[in-house]
C-alpha cells in the first residue's frame, strides 16, 4: 500500500527546507506559474481545472471550476478568499500545508487569481496557527521579492497580492460566509444565502472561497494537465486527497492517497493498524460533522469515494479526517464531547441550533456519566430531529442558516444506529437524575 504524493511531495522530499524560498525554487516552485503567465490564457486554466474534476477539499466537495464560473463576468473588483481556518475536529492537513509548503499555496493562489481575474486575495488563517502564519507571511514577502506577487508579475502585466488575516478562535468562521463576516471585522455569524458569495461576498463584491488543499492542488493540475489528473481517483472523486488519520491507529498522521483506496488499506496498510491489535469499535470519517462508520468488513472495504460513501452509508469524506476508536472507547462519551464542541461553537443565530445543541449536550452528559434515564436516547433523537428533521443521513436536512446545527446531531444519529441496544441496556441500569 503506498501514498500518491503530489501535494505533499515537496514536504516529504525536503524535510529540512520545504517551506523556504530556496527549498521551493530548488524543487520546481513557481515554474508552473511562470508557464501559465507566459501562455497568457486564463480561460485555459479554468478549463484544465474543469477537466481535472477537482472538487473542494474543505468539506462540501463542490466542483472548483464550477464555483469559479459563477462569478459574474463584468463585475470588478472581485476577491479570492482562502480558507485556512481548519477547525473541524481531527483535521490537520491544512496546518501542515501552511507550515511546510506555503510557497505551493501561494503559487496556487496566484494561478487561481489569474484564472478568475482577481488582483487581491485574502488568506484567513486560524488564529492558533502561529507558526503557519509566520511562515506564510514570510513566504509572501519572499515571493513578492522575486516578482511572483505584486505588480506586473513576471512581466506579464498581471497584478496580484495577498493579505494574510488571522482568526481569533471560533470554529464557525470556517463556514465560508461566517469567514467573510469575520474578515470584515464582524462577529463570525453565517449569512443567509442567497446571495451566494460568488455574487455578493467580501465587501459585497463577487468572491470565491477555496480551501488550502484545493488551491495547493491547482499548480499540479496545470503541470499534469486536467485530463491526466482526472485519470487518478475514482468516478467523480478524482485525484488524490490528504487524509488526516488519528486515534487508536499505530501510525497516526497525514496520508495523501489516490481516491478510491479502501478504508482498510488506509487504516491498516498505511496507518499501521490498530494499537495492541485491538478491534475497531467505530470510525468517524470526514470530521466531527459526519455520521459514523464501524469496523465491519462492509465499512472497511468501502472505497474513499465521496459520492459512494454518502449514497451507501450516509456519511461524508468531508474534510478528510478519519478518527479511529478501538473497543475500549465508550461511544456515548465521544458523542457527548462532540456535542459539547458544537454547543460551544454554535454562533447562536438560529434557535434550533442555539437551543438544541445545548440540550443535546446536557442529555449526553448525564448519559455518559452514569446518570442517564431510560428514555434519554429517544429524548435525544427527538431533540435532534428538531434541529435536523428526519435525523438520518448526509446530506443533512437543513432548517438552519448553516450546516453546523445539523452536524451536531450526527453523533446522536450514529449512536442510535449502531449502539442502540448497548445504550438502552446501560440506561436501564443507570442512576438517573432529575435534571
Amino acid at each position: 500500500m503506498t501514498e500518491t504524493r503530489i501535494v505533499t511531495k515537496r514536504l516529504h522530499d525536503r524535510v529540512d527546507d520545504s517551506w523556504t524560498l530556496d527549498g521551493s525554487l530548488a524543487s520546481g516552485g513557481y515554474e508552473v506559474l511562470r508557464a501559465v503567465l507566459a501562455r497568457g490564457d486564463a480561460a485555459d486554466v479554468q478549463n484544465q481545472v474543469k477537466l481535472s474534476g477537482l472538487r473542494g477539499r474543505g468539506g462540501a466537495g463542490f466542483p472548483t471550476a464550477q464555483k469559479w464560473s459563477f462569478l459574474p463576468p463584468d463585475s470588478f473588483p472581485r476577491y479570492l478568499v482562502v480558507n485556512a481556518d481548519e477547525g473541524e475536529p481531527s483535521t490537520f492537513k491544512d496546518r501542515m500545508l501552511l507550515e511546510l509548503d506555503p510557497h505551493q499555496l501561494i503559487e496556487g493562489i496566484t494561478i487561481a487569481s489569474y484564472a478568475v481575474q482577481c488582483s487581491l486575495a485574502f488568506v484567513y488563517v486560524r488564529g492558533e496557527f502561529a507558526l503557519g502564519y509566520e511562515r506564510l507571511t514570510r513566504a509572501i514577502d519572499d515571493a513578492r521579492g522575486q516578482g511572483f506577487l505584486g505588480r506586473n508579475i513576471l512581466g506579464s502585466g498581471f497584478d496580484c497580492d495577498i493579505v494574510v488575516h488571522r482568526g481569533a478562535g471560533a470554529y464557525i468562521c470556517g463556514e465560508e460566509t461566517a469567514l467573510l463576516e469575520s474578515l470584515e471585522g464582524e462577529r463570525g455569524m453565517p449569512r443567509i444565502r442567497p446571495p451566494f458569495p460568488a455574487i455578493e461576498g467580501l465587501y459585497a463584491k463577487p468572491t470565491v472561497v477555496n480551501n488550502v488543499e484545493t488551491l495547493s492542488t491547482v499548480p499540479h493540475i496545470m503541470q499534469m494537465g486536467g485530463e491526466e489528473y482526472a485519470k487518478l481517483g475514482v468516478n467523480r472523486s478524482t485525484g488524490t486527497r490528504i487524509f488526516s488519520v488519528s486515534g487508536h491507529v499505530n501510525k497516526p498522521g497525514n496520508y495523501e492517497v489516490e481516491l478510491g483506496m479502501s478504508f482498510r488499506d488506509l487504516l491498516y496498510g498505511l496507518a499501521g493498524g490498530i494499537r495492541a491489535d485491538r478491534k475497531i469499535k467505530f470510525i468517524i470519517p470526514g470530521g466531527a460533522s459526519s455520521q459514523w462508520l464501524t469496523g465491519s468488513d462492509e465499512h472497511l472495504d468501502a472505497p474513499l469515494d465521496m459520492d459512494f460513501v454518502q449514497q451507501t452509508f450516509g456519511v461524508m469524506l468531508g474534510s478528510g479526517a478519519v478518527m479511529v476508536f478501538d473497543e475500549t472507547v465508550d461511544p456515548v462519551l465521544v458523542a457527548w464531547r462532540l456535542a459539547k464542541f458544537f454547543a460551544h461553537e454554535s454562533c447562536g443565530k438560529c434557535t434550533p441550533c442555539r437551543e438544541g445543541t445545548g440540550w443535546v449536550e446536557k442529555v449526553l452528559y448525564r448519559m455518559s456519566h452514569g446518570l442517564g434515564r431510560p428514555q434519554d436516547l429517544d429524548l435525544l433523537v427527538s431533540v435532534g430531529a428538531n434541529i435536523s428533521p428526519g435525523l438520518v443521513n448526509a446530506p443533512f436536512v437543513q432548517t438552519t442558516i448553516c450546516p453546523l446545527g445539523p452536524s451536531a446531531v450526527s453523533c446522536v444519529a450514529s449512536i442510535n444506529k449502531f449502539f442502540r441496544d448497548e445504550v438502552l441496556e446501560r440506561l436501564r441500569n443507570d442512576a438517573g437524575v432529575h435534571a
Partner: protein, 164 residues
C-alpha cells in the same frame, strides 16, 4: 495617551492600510494589542476603534465573539490543552486536570481547555502561547510549561509580522 507604543502604532497603521475597509483591521489590531499587553483592555479597544473608524462598542461587539481575545488580564503564559475527541481517548483530560491543579495558585500561568488544535496526529496536544507541543503526558506537559517559565523556551508573537 496612546495605548500602542510607537512601533506598534506604526504597525497598526500599516495593518489598517492593507484592507479595502478599515473595520477589517479589528481582529489583527486586537492580536497586536494582546502581543503588546497580554490582554485586550478597554484602552486598547478605544484606540482600535479610533484606528478603524468604529466605536469602542463595535470593537467589543466583535472581539467578544472570539475565544483567543482575553478581556481580562491573564497569565504571561497561556496554556491551551485540547480535550476534543482524539485527545479525549488518549489522555488529554488527564493533562488538563494535572495542569489546572498544578497552576491553580500561580497567576503567571493561565490554563484553559480548548477545542481541537489540528494536532490530532500527535494527540494529546497543547499549546503554550500558541506554540504546539504534541504527545504530551501530565508530567511532560508540566516540564514544558516550566521551561517557558524559566525562559529556556520562548514563544513567538506574530501579530506584527510582515505586512502585505
Amino acid at each position: 495617551m496612546s495605548f500602542f507604543d510607537d512601533a506598534n502604532l506604526a504597525r497598526a497603521k500599516e495593518i489598517v492600510a492593507r484592507y479595502p475597509r478599515a473595520k477589517s483591521a479589528i481582529l489583527p489590531l486586537a492580536h497586536l494589542a494582546q502581543d503588546q499587553n497580554g490582554w485586550l483592555s478597554q484602552e486598547a479597544m478605544e484606540q482600535i476603534a479610533e484606528l478603524t473608524g468604529t466605536t469602542a462598542a463595535d470593537v467589543l461587539g466583535t472581539c467578544s465573539f472570539y475565544t483567543m481575545l482575553k478581556r481580562r488580564p491573564c497569565g504571561k503564559l497561556v496554556v491551551s490543552v485540547c480535550t476534543n475527541v482524539t485527545c479525549l481517548v488518549v489522555g488529554g483530560p488527564e493533562v488538563l486536570d494535572h495542569l489546572e491543579h498544578r497552576y491553580a495558585a500561580e497567576p503567571d500561568v493561565t490554563v484553559e481547555e480548548v477545542e481541537c488544535l489540528a494536532a490530532c496526529g500527535g494527540a494529546p496536544a497543547l499549546q503554550v502561547n500558541y506554540e504546539f507541543h504534541e504527545r504530551v503526558s501530565p508530567a511532560s506537559a508540566e516540564e514544558i510549561v516550566e521551561a517557558y517559565r524559566s525562559g529556556s523556551r520562548r514563544a513567538r508573537t506574530v501579530s506584527g509580522a510582515s505586512v502585505a
